[in-house]
Structure formats: structure tokens, C-alpha cells
Amino acid sequence: MKKNLIVHYIIIIVILAFLFIPLLATFVFSIASKWEATILPEGLSLTWYSTIFKDPRFISSAARSLLVCTITVVLSLVIMIPTVFSVVVYKPRLEKYLNIITTIPFAIPGVVFAVGLLNFYSKKPFMLTGTIWILVGAYFIIVLPYTFQSIRNSLRVINAKQLMDSAEILHASKFQAFIRVVLPNISKGVISSALLSFSILFGEFVLTNLLAGGQFETVQIYLYSKRAESGHITSAIVISYFVVILILSIIILKIGSSRKERKIEENL
């Protein structure tokens, strides 16, 4: 039995090595002053990071990414929480249509949406290409499947319909019951879906490139524009980007596991 386990360890180590080697090598390359044809880099330095963090183009592209992702995620929550809530609690018959509508973006590649959006929004009367607004609209659709699923699941877990009824029996208005009973109970699920949406959008390239490109340069577009430059510069950007995504996913994971623990405690 033990012998068998060794085989499985080897399999997992080989797979994880394949997955982590590009990442680790890129990291080492980004902190190496020079790394050519030697097993280990010849010296370490943070020059490449200071170069990019001194580049105003990098800073403003990061700010643009932050801005457009934040606007979209906030808009998405403000619209989707009340929408999914009213459907799940008051019009459950409509839920399956909402499910279909929100699954479509998952099934259709971004490049197809980009063509359609360009067809319609690059001429009058809806001249939107190249602006932040077409990105907000397109991004809203990209994260729709994730936002819908997580809000619906959170509402199901807390049995929102029953909670609303109980609160109303206690003379709370619908609005009060929603704000003070339902919202606090779904907040964790909603926050982790917001962070997930944020990290998906932070890495979005195809729609950004085709719909706005150089007119609204996000971090991804900036990185792509540096393709002709030294590998050290691009590796420093890649690692900086990855660190942001990593921090986001660690927070998501922490929220997720604390929810699990609470559920287990409640069951005890």
C-alpha cells in the first residue's frame, strides 16, 4: 500500500513541477541582474522592478485596470444582488431563464462577443469603442456567470424566502428585511465572488485589446506592448501581475474556508 503511494507522490510532483517551473524561472529571471547560459543567475538585483515602477505608463495602466475592474465589479453587485434576490424570492419561475441568460457568456468565446460589440458600437449612434464604457459593459457580461451563481447559491444556503417572511412577520418592511437580514447573511459569498470577478477581469485581454486597445491601456495591454523589450522587464511585469492575483486568491480562499468552518460549527 505504501509503495503505491510513492508512485502517486512522483506523479503529483512531476505535474506540479511542470506547472511551477515556468513561474519560478520567470521569478528568478525578474530578480537576476544577468542570467545567460549558467545554471544559476550571475547576480541578483531589483533594477527591473524599479525600472517598471518608475515607468509612468506602467503606473497609469495599473490605475486604469484598477478603475475599470472596480467600476464593473461594484456595478455588477449593485445590479445583480437585487435582481437575483427578487427572482429567487418572488419569481422563482423566472430563475431558469436567468440561468440560461447568465450561462451564455461562459459558453461563447470572448472573441465572438468582441466582433459583435465592434459591429454595433463602432458606428453612430452608439460610438463606444475605445472608451471605458464599452469595457464596463463587456466586462459585466464576462463575470455574469460567476456573479449569478454565487449570489444564487448564497441566497439558497440561507433560505432567503423564509428569512424574509420571518422578518416581515416581525413588522420589518421588505427593504429593511433585505438590508438588515438578507444582505449581512450573504455578504461573505458575495465578497468572495466579487474578488474572483476582479481577478478574472484583471487578466482579461481579448475584449480589452479588440475593443479599446491602445486607447485605454490596461496592465495586460501594457504587458503585451512590451513584447519586444528585454525578458527581464517583461518578467518583472508578469511577476508583479501574478502577485496581485495571488493575493486576491488567497483572500478568496480564506473567506471560503472560514465559511466552511462556521458551517461545521453550526452543524455541531
Binding site: 503505491n4 503511494l5 507522490y9 503529483i12 505535474i15 506540479l16 511542470f18 506547472l19 511551477f20 513561474l23 524561472a25 520567470t26 529571471f29 545567460e36 547560459a37 549558467t38 445590479i79 445583480m80 437585487p82 435582481t83 427578487s86 441568460i101 451564455i104 457568456p105 459558453a107 461563447i108 468565446p109 470572448g110 472573441v111 465572438v112 462577443f113 468582441a114 466582433v115 459583435g116 460589440l117 465592434l118 459591429n119 454595433f120 459593459g137 463587456a138 459585466f140 457580461i141 418592511s173 421588505k174 427593504f175 487578466g203 485581454f205 481579448v206 485589446n209 495586460q220 504587458l223 503585451y224 513584447r227 525578458g231 517583461t234 518578467s235 508578469v238 501574478f242 495571488l246 486568491s249
Partner: protein, 281 residues
């Protein structure tokens, strides 16, 4: 009156929701389909774009390349992910969760950053390429990152974490007691997997393959950043037709986009049928 005032903010939000869905989901899809049936001037009803997509060797080749690379990377990806998920299922819950977390971590590594990482390590002046050269191994003679084989390597890379994430719950469904029962009845381990294991896993394998295939067919960022468009793939052709300076043709791009959507739908239908057939057996 009071009721109405209570509900009016919600009604406004629902209206905005409908407007966004119509404006950014339905309108683009409608627009892709209608313009795919227009001629090169953007008028009338014509099947020219479709016949061109299938007759013009350039477009036809992009369809063929995309399907081949997606099939190959998904097949290799699903094999590695299934083997990996099986191994993961052998460990204790704690170890399992650690492995899954690590694998998920790398699933964020995709698109342009992923392509650049591979260029840094395996490109013409990549770190590993140069190290290998120093030891007398000329990587360039057998492997070129900017070719189809390079693209496949990078596609397989992003398929693996996705595959592991989707496949690993399926192995939970195979109970150790079943294996014990089978072995008591005299079945070998091979017979168990052939007659029971595969049947339980097949729906998950097919479903995961489906998602992997769609993922590879739509991959634009990785392919563009890695090959700079030198390999003829559907998403790159479509992108070039709507953003290129010289060869702008949104109608042709729309027809290719519809064909891409149709290929994904057909593969999806075949997979759903396969799963149903397996269940009825």
C-alpha cells in the same frame, strides 16, 4: 402608492439589468449573426462570407489548425489531469487540499503573462534554451516554441490545472468498498477499472474535455502573445479581421465567429449524447 414607492428602486435596477443584458449580450450576438449573412459592402443577404470561409485556403486552414491544436491539447490535458486527479484522491484530505490549492494557483497563470513566461524560459534566447546549448544540447533543432508544438505545450499547460480542478471531485464518487467488493468477487484491478471505474468517470471526463476544448478553441491572448499571429488560428484570424489596418472585414469576421460558435455547439451536442448513451448502458 406606498407599495409602489417601496419597490421603485428595485424596478429601476431591474430595468438597468435588462438594458445591460440586451445591449452587451443579445445585441452583439444578434449583430454577429446578421452581419455574417451580409456581403462585403455590409448589405443584403448573402452566403458569400460562409462559402469564402470554407473555400479560401487561408481561412479554412485557420479552422483546421484550431480544431487540431484544441483536440490534441485537450486529449493530452485530460489524460494528465485524470492521472493526476486519481493520484490526488489517494492522499489524506489535508494533503489533497494543499495540492489542489497549488494547482489552482497556477490556473491564474494564463494568457499574455503565461506566453511571456514560456518565451523567457524556452524562447530563442530563453534561459533553458541557453543552458541546454551550453551542455551541447541544441533545443532549437527539435523544438521551436513559436511553432505549433510550442503552442501545444503552452495550451497543455493551461489545460492541466483546469482539468484537475474539474476531474478531482469525480474520483470521490468511486468508493474504496467497491474495489474491495470487486476483488472479493475475483476481479482484477484492471477489470475493476475497465468495467466500473471508467463508467463512473466517463461523464466527468467527457464534460471536462468539452470545457477544455472550448477553452482552447477560444484562446486568443496566449496564441497572439506567443506567435505574434504567425500561426493561423481562428481567434487570431477573427481578431485580425476586426482590428487589422489592411484586411478589415467585419462581415467575414462575423461568419468565422459564427462557425467557431457552431463547432463548439456541435462538440457539446456530441458530448451530451455520449454521456446519455453511457448512462443508458
Amino acid at each position: 402608492m406606498n407599495r409602489l414607492r417601496d419597490n421603485s428602486p428595485v424596478i429601476i435596477i431591474l430595468i438597468i439589468f435588462v438594458l445591460i443584458i440586451v445591449g452587451f449580450e443579445f445585441v452583439p450576438l444578434y449583430s454577429v449573426i446578421t452581419s455574417s449573412f451580409q456581403d462585403n459592402t455590409g448589405h443584403g443577404f448573402s452566403l458569400a462570407q460562409y462559402s469564402n470561409a470554407l473555400k479560401n485556403p487561408f481561412y479554412y486552414q485557420s479552422i483546421k489548425n484550431s480544431i487540431l491544436i484544441s483536440l490534441e491539447s485537450s486529449i493530452v490535458g485530460i489524460i494528465i489531469a485524470t492521472i493526476g486527479a486519481n493520484s490526488i484522491s489517494k492522499f489524506s484530505t489535508r494533503v489533497r487540499e494543499k495540492i489542489i490549492t497549488m494547482s489552482n494557483m497556477t490556473s491564474n497563470f494564463s494568457g499574455v503573462p503565461l506566453a511571456f513566461a514560456f518565451i523567457i524560459i524556452l524562447g530563442n534566447n530563453g534561459v533553458f534554451t541557453l543552458i541546454f546549448k551550453k551542455f551541447g544540447i541544441n533545443l532549437a533543432s527539435s523544438f521551436n516554441l513559436y511553432s505549433v508544438s510550442g503552442l501545444q505545450l503552452v495550451y497543455i499547460y493551461f489545460q492541466i490545472p483546469l482539468g484537475i480542478l474539474l476531474m478531482y471531485p469525480a474520483f470521490d464518487a468511486i468508493k474504496e468498498e467497491w474495489k474491495d467488493a470487486a476483488s472479493i468477487l475475483g476481479a482484477s484491478s484492471f477489470q475493476f477499472w475497465k468495467n466500473i471505474g471508467i463508467a463512473v468517470l466517463l461523464p466527468s471526463i467527457i464534460g471536462t474535455f468539452n470545457i477544455m476544448f472550448a477553452n482552447a478553441m477560444g484562446a486568443y491572448a496566449t496564441a497572439l502573445a506567443l506567435t505574434n499571429g504567425s500561426i493561423n488560428l481562428m481567434p487570431l484570424r477573427i481578431g485580425a479581421l476586426v482590428s487589422g489596418d489592411i484586411f478589415m472585414n467585419p462581415m467575414q469576421a462575423s461568419a468565422l465567429a459564427v462557425i467557431l460558435g457552431l463547432i463548439l455547439t456541435i462538440v457539446n451536442i456530441i458530448n451530451v449524447k455520449l454521456i446519455r448513451k453511457e448512462r443508458t448502458i
